[in-house]
Amino acid sequence: MPWTKIYSNRAEFDKALKDNPDLRGIAYKDALREATAQLLSSDPSVFVIGEGVDDAGGVFGTTKGLQEEFGAKRVMDSPLSENGITGIAVGAAAAGMKPILVHMRVDFLPLSIDQIMNHAAKWRYMFGGSVSVPIVIRSIIGRGWGSAAQHSQSLQAMFMNIPGLKVIMPATPFDAKGMLISAVKDGNPVVMIEHRWLYEHVGYVPKEMYTVPLGKAIVRRTGADATIVAISHMVHESIQAAEALEAEGINCEVIDLRTLKPLDTETIAESVEKTGRLIVADTGWKDAGVGAEVIARVAEAGLLLKAPAVRVNLPEAPTPASPVLEKAYYPGKNEIIEAVRKVSSYGKAQA
C-alpha cells in the first residue's frame, strides 16, 4: 500500500507522486482539516469546539475556514475555560452529540483532567453501559523555538493509565485523517495527540472518507535485526535511523504504534520474536511511559531478548527554552542509531 510507506526524503515522495497520477499528496494538517470537514458534512451530531478554532490560523490550519463553511454553531470558539469546556463537551456527548474538542496544546489537558479522567472515562461504566461519551479530544505537542516547559509536553502516558479512554498518536497524513474519522465514529472518549512537527509532513491521502482502525499498529519498515517501536514524530526519526543503519548492515524493523491504548501487543510481539532486539522511541519521558509499557508487554509475552531493551526518551527534566539546551534535550535519529548499535553489539567481543 503506497500510503503506509513513509518517505524521509521529500524529493523521493514528489517523484513517487509523479509516477502515480491517481494518488494525491497533502500535508498532515490539511488531512485533519479534510477529515473534520467531511465529518461535519456527513453527521449533524458532529461539532467542533475549542479555543481559537475559528481564528485566522485555524489551529495550525487544521480548522481553517471551517466556521465560514459550517457556521458558528458547528465550529465554535470557546472561552479560556479548559475544564469547563471539556465538561461541556462531555455533557453534550452524553446527550447525543459527537464533539471534537481541540486543545491547542497538550499542556492544557491537565487543566481539564477532572472531566477527562473522572467523567468522560468513567461515565459509561459507572452507569452500567446505559450512556456513552463519544468525544474526541485533540491536543498538540509543541516543540522548538523556545516553547519551553509548559508548551511542549508529551503527556500520552498519563492517559494510557486510565481505563475507559483510548489514546491515539497518528504519525502520517493518511493515518491522521483515517484515525480522526475512526475516533469520531468510535463511540468512546478518544484522546488524540498530534505532534506539531508533523503538520507540514506530506503523504498520500485519498479524497474520500475512510477509516483507519484504532488499536492496530503498523510495520513501517521490515527488518530482521532489531525492532524499533516508535510513536508520532519518533516514527520519522526511526525511519531515518533505520535507513542510515542499513549502510552498516543492520536491518531494522520499524513499528508505528499509532494507537497507544488499547496497545497492539500482537504486532510488537511478532516482530520482537523475529528480531530478538528491542528499542522503543517515545516523544515523552521514560518513567512509566510508552517504553515501559511496551517492554513489559514483551516480557509478559515471554519473549527472550538477545540484548537488553533500550528506551529512547526525553531526559528527566522539563523542557528548557535556550536553543542550545533545547537541542541537547530532544533525542532523535542519532540517539536511535546509538540505541540500535548498542543492542546489536551486545555480547560481541570488543575489538
Partner: protein, 334 residues
C-alpha cells in the same frame, strides 16, 4: 410559609399541583428515612448522602419540568431523581449493589441514572456535573430541541472553578439552564463563612448579566415560584438563572446519623432548622388553608410506604451482578 403565601401562590398553582408538591416532598422524606432505618443492617454497602431537610427544593423545581427535560445532580441526589420521576425500585437496587439497579450495581448511591426521565448520570466530584449539564443544554440547543436543563449543586460546588466556567458559557450562549444551588451552609463540616468571602451566592449571576435570586429553600411555594420563572425564562431562550435556595441538611455529610453528637455542628442549629421543616410547614399550610384534609394526606403516606415496601423487597430479592460484569461496559464495543 403562611396562609398568605399560599393565597399568593394560588393564583398560579392548581390544587392538583399543591398535592403533587406535598406528595413529592413526603416521598423523598420517607425514602430517605427508610434508608436510615435499613442502613444499620449493612446490606447497602455504599456511602449514602441523605437530603432530609432539603426536600422542598427538588420538589418545587422539578414540578415545572417535562419528562424530557434534563436534570444533573450530585452525590446527594436521591431527592432530585425521585422528584424528576424516577422509580424507587432501580434506586434501591442500586444501593444494594444489585444487577437490577439503575447502574447495574456499578454506581452505588452517588451515581444514579434515569435516561427516560432526563437524568444522564450524577457525578460525585463536587462541581463535576455542572459543566456536563451545560453541555447537555448545548446539545439540546444545537439539535433544535426545547429541553430545559436543571443543575442541582451545593454551596461547596459554588467554590469550584467549574461553576464559573460553566455559568459564563451558559450566559454567553443564552443556554436554557437553571442553576439551583442548594445552600445548606456546610461543605462536609466546613461552614460557608469559613469558605466564602461574600456569602451571597445568587449575587454572582449579576456579574454574568444573568438572573439571580436568593430564596427560602424550605418554603416549597417560594421554590415553586422562583423555579417557575427560571424555567419559563430558560424555555423561551432568555438564558440561564441562578437560584440560591437556603436550606439545611439534617443528617451528617454522609451516612444515616445526625452529626452534632460528634461535634460537627451545633445541636441548637439543627433544632432550629427542624422547626423550619419544609414538609411540616407545607403540611400545616395545606391543612389550615383547607387544601387537603388528613385523610388525603394519610392516603398519600400509605401509598408511598407501599411503594417503598415494594422497592426494598425488589432490591433485596434481586440478584447480585455476575462477576463477568466486572469488565463489561468499560468501552462501547464496535
Amino acid at each position: 410559609m403562611n396562609d398568605e403565601s399560599l393565597k399568593i401562590c394560588q393564583g398560579r398553582i392548581t390544587k392538583k399541583e399543591l398535592g403533587e408538591l406535598y406528595f413529592q416532598m413526603l416521598r423523598i422524606r420517607l425514602f430517605e428515612e427508610r434508608i436510615v432505618d435499613l442502613y444499620p443492617e449493612q446490606e447497602m454497602k455504599c456511602p449514602v448522602h441523605l437530603c432530609i431537610g432539603q426536600e422542598a427544593i427538588a420538589a418545587g423545581v422539578c414540578i415545572h419540568l417535562k419528562k424530557e427535560d434534563y436534570v444533573f445532580s450530585n452525590h446527594r441526589g436521591h431527592g432530585h431523581c425521585l422528584a424528576k420521576g424516577s422509580d424507587m425500585k432501580p434506586l434501591f437496587a442500586e444501593f444494594y449493589g444489585k444487577i437490577t439497579g439503575c447502574s447495574r450495581g456499578k454506581g452505588g448511591s452517588m451515581h444514579l441514572i434515569d435516561i427516560p426521565n432526563g437524568i444522564l448520570g450524577t457525578s460525585a466530584i463536587v462541581g463535576g456535573g455542572i459543566p456536563m449539564g451545560v453541555g447537555a443544554a448545548l446539545a439540546s440547543n444545537l439539535k433544535g430541541e426545547n429541553r430545559v436543563t436543571v443543575i442541582f449543586f451545593g454551596d461547596g460546588a459554588f467554590e469550584e472553578g467549574a461553576f464559573y466556567e460553566s455559568f459564563n458559557f451558559a450566559a454567553l450562549k443564552k443556554l436554557p439552564v437553571v442553576f439551583v444551588c442548594e445552600n445548606n451552609f456546610y461543605a462536609t463540616n466546613s461552614r460557608q463563612e469559613a469558605r466564602q468571602a461574600v456569602c451571597k451566592i445568587s449575587g454572582t449571576a449579576a456579574a454574568f448579566d444573568a438572573h439571580g435570586i436568593c430564596i427560602d429553600g424550605n418554603d416549597v411555594l417560594e421554590v415553586y415560584r422562583a423555579a417557575g420563572d427560571a424555567v419559563a425564562k430558560a424555555r423561551s431562550g432568555r438564558g440561564p438563572s441562578l437560584i440560591e435556595a437556603k436550606t439545611y441538611r439534617w443528617k451528617g455529610h454522609v451516612g444515616p446519623e445526625e452529626d452534632w453528637t460528634k461535634g460537627c455542628r451545633p445541636e441548637d442549629e439543627l433544632r432550629e432548622w427542624k422547626e423550619k421543616c419544609p414538609v411540616k410547614r407545607f403540611k400545616e399550610a395545606l391543612s389550615s388553608g383547607n387544601i387537603m384534609d388528613k385523610a388525603e394526606m394519610d392516603g398519600m403516606e400509605a401509598k408511598i410506604k407501599a411503594e417503598l415496601d415494594e422497592a426494598v423487597d425488589f432490591a433485596k430479592k434481586s440478584p447480585y451482578p455476575d462477576t463477568i460484569e466486572l469488565l463489561k461496559d468499560v468501552y462501547v464495543e464496535a
